[in-house]
């Protein structure tokens, strides 16, 4: 192919990618509107706008401002965080089975939360979340340290994945032991385990936002390095990549993103597992595009699943984690069956 023919083709690819990005953005916006207006008490779009811009203290204003908006914002943040974290995790471990919980984040958060209940008698959501976040960070650092000493001159995908699985299994076992001994911890744990974004107020959102924002910045910084790494460590090294630094930034990003999301919403790691597989056929292997696509698909999927969970079993609600699996997994399976999966 001559040089003149390559340029317009590259231009076309970039054009298509931007269009896809805008389309995904539009989907997320629609999902946000649905999430604000639909629920056990439907609010017309006009009233919702009124509540956001000029609240006068009506019942609808209250529902929108104190319940729906925090829930929606949390859904968007958690969806983006888990989608991006999943794509990073699969990129770094080069394993399609890797989910953002692989570094021990989910089980670390769970163990810290149930321990805080039985040891310190903690009983409010805000405090659980701090413990969950701390547990997620500690577990992830431990896994990374183990993966690092296990690999040769830095964490390799296999040692990282195995160390993560081992630490997760250990923490999950300890968590089971704790909840089997304490009924109150069991009661909190079983609802946290199902995964939910309801009943979290604005404080929870403010609590996790900084972690997710820092995580997103690190993730985007990590994208070019991860592209080089996916050519193999030797090629990456000869391209001038600092492999150790790239891996460390990647793990830090995954930890912040998924730690914050999981601490606030419970175990929703499945969304981080499937979203990159949905995004990869659209974006190709380039992480600079895969990461934003995964984030947007994650946010859209999480919000839509949450809205469905609100209306599907009146008068109660179905936890978003359950809806996600019931809705997302068949879709995921159909996708895997229809086309040849894009391999990592």
């Amino acid at each position: 192919m001559s040089a003149t023919a390559v340029a317009p083709r590259l231009h076309g690819i970039r054009h298509r990618r931007l269009t896809t990005l805008l389309a995904l953005l539009a989907v997320v916006l629609v999902a946000i509107v649905l999430s604000v207006t639909i629920g056990s008490k439907p609010v017309p779009l006009g009233d919702a706008w009124h509540a956001l811009t000029a609240p006068t203290g009506t019942e609808n204003d209250l529902v929108i401002r104190s319940l729906r908006v925090p829930r929606t914002v949390l859904g968007v943040l958690a969806g983006i965080a888990l989608g991006v974290a999943g794509a990073l995790m699969q990129g770094h471990t080069r394993n399609p089975l890797a989910d953002p919980g692989l570094l021990g984040v989910t089980q670390g958060a769970a163990f810290a939360m149930v321990s805080s209940i039985i040891l310190l008698g903690v009983s409010n959501l805000l405090a659980y979340i701090w413990f969950g976040l701390a547990g997620a960070l500690v577990a992830s650092v431990a896994v990374f340290a183990l993966g690092m000493v296990g690999g040769r001159g830095g964490p390799t995908p296999v040692t990282l994945a195995l160390a993560g699985t081992a630490v997760s299994a250990l923490l999950a076992a300890l968590t089971s032991a704790v909840v089997l001994l304490d009924e109150q911890a069991m009661d909190v744990f079983r609802f946290w385990q199902a995964g939910s974004i309801s009943g979290r107020n604005g404080d929870v959102v403010w609590q996790v936002t900084p972690f997710i924002l820092v995580g997103l910045v690190l993730a985007m910084m990590n994208a070019p390095g991860l592209n080089a790494l996916s050519l193999g460590e030797d090629v990456a090294r000869s391209l001038g990549q600092n492999i150790m630094l790239t891996r460390t930034i990647g793990v830090a990003a995954v930890t912040l993103l998924s730690g914050a999301a999981v601490a606030a919403c419970g175990s929703l790691a499945f969304i981080g597992l499937i979203v990159p597989h949905l995004a990869r056929p659209l974006s190709g292997a380039d992480h600079r595009w895969l990461l934003p696509y995964s984030g947007l698909i994650g946010a859209g999927l999480l919000l839509i699943a949450d809205v469905i969970g609100r209306v599907v079993a009146p008068p109660g609600e179905l936890e978003v984690g359950v809806v996600l699996a019931l809705m997302g997994a068949p879709f995921f399976v159909a996708l895997v069956r229809r086309r040849k999966p894009v391999r990592l």
Binding site: L97, V149, A161, A166, A173, L180, R190, F191, Q193
Partner: protein
Amino acid sequence: MTTTLPLRTRVLSWRVRVRAVVVALIGVVLLGLLMALNMRIGDIQMSLADVISGAIDVNSPAHFVVMELRLPRALTGALVGAALALSGAIIQSIARNPLASPEILGVTTGASVTVVAGVVLTGTANGGTSGLLTSLGIPALALLGGLAGAAIVYGLAWRRGLDGYRLVLVGIGVSAVFTNIKFWLLTVGDVNDTGRAMVWISGSLNSRGWEHVVPTALALAVLVPLALLGTRSLDALRFGDDTVTALGVRVNPARALMILAAVLLAAVATAAAGPIAFVALASPQIALRLARSAHPPLLCSAIIGAVLTTAADLIARTAFSPIELPVGIVTAVLGAPYLIHLIWRSRK
């Protein structure tokens, strides 16, 4: 140390890896010691002589404790551990992925859903007769759920042949559905039923008897030789479908047979003792590192699975006596640090 001895007869030739054989022998000795300890220790402490005389003499007071309580329980543990580990080794070889386990094939997750549904929906909150279900129905329910789960995964992954990669992806999708239905069921029921379901989900050997030993032993007697015969095609399958086809192995029948063996092993084991955590995933990885082989050695994995489960049950039974922990909690607490140690040691 990668010494191999060629072993040839007129019809068959076999490569015997010395290190793997040594690991297997040490494992068997260790298993024997652990079983003996398991017979001796408990609410009633016995010497080995007591155990042996109790086993032989039908009229001795120790007879019931040894033959009806401790021996069947210990045998169930060892057999189930071996079956899960062998299943894990086969699946990890086929998927060419160290994170793969029977969960990927929908076996353990399928069994968990049906059992949790059984416990929660017929539980105290719904006025059911949960005692009857516990003693009779749960193994059958688990077997049914495990086989159905695997059939769903296999059916959905089949598309003009079976691709290892697609099998894994379909498996995680289907398993996620099962797992989340299980999570939901756990939130629906009474918290006491949730607790009882959690014990089963963690994997437990409490009050297991000969009715658990016999089916597991029969399944192993058929499936272990089958799996070992398939070792060669498994070795070939690791090179990727195209290469293997070129080497003259019929990919799909060989793989289908091995997957069937893995599914049956995991389903039978899960029916007997619940989805004991981590044995299927860790044992092949531990075996591979101890034997210094490139991929999970099947027989070594099975022996290590049996050792791990037996050791874990000994601790689960006696460490916090009179409280008995679910064995699955201890397998993870024992196996995880050991796997971590092996990963750590293998750095060069």
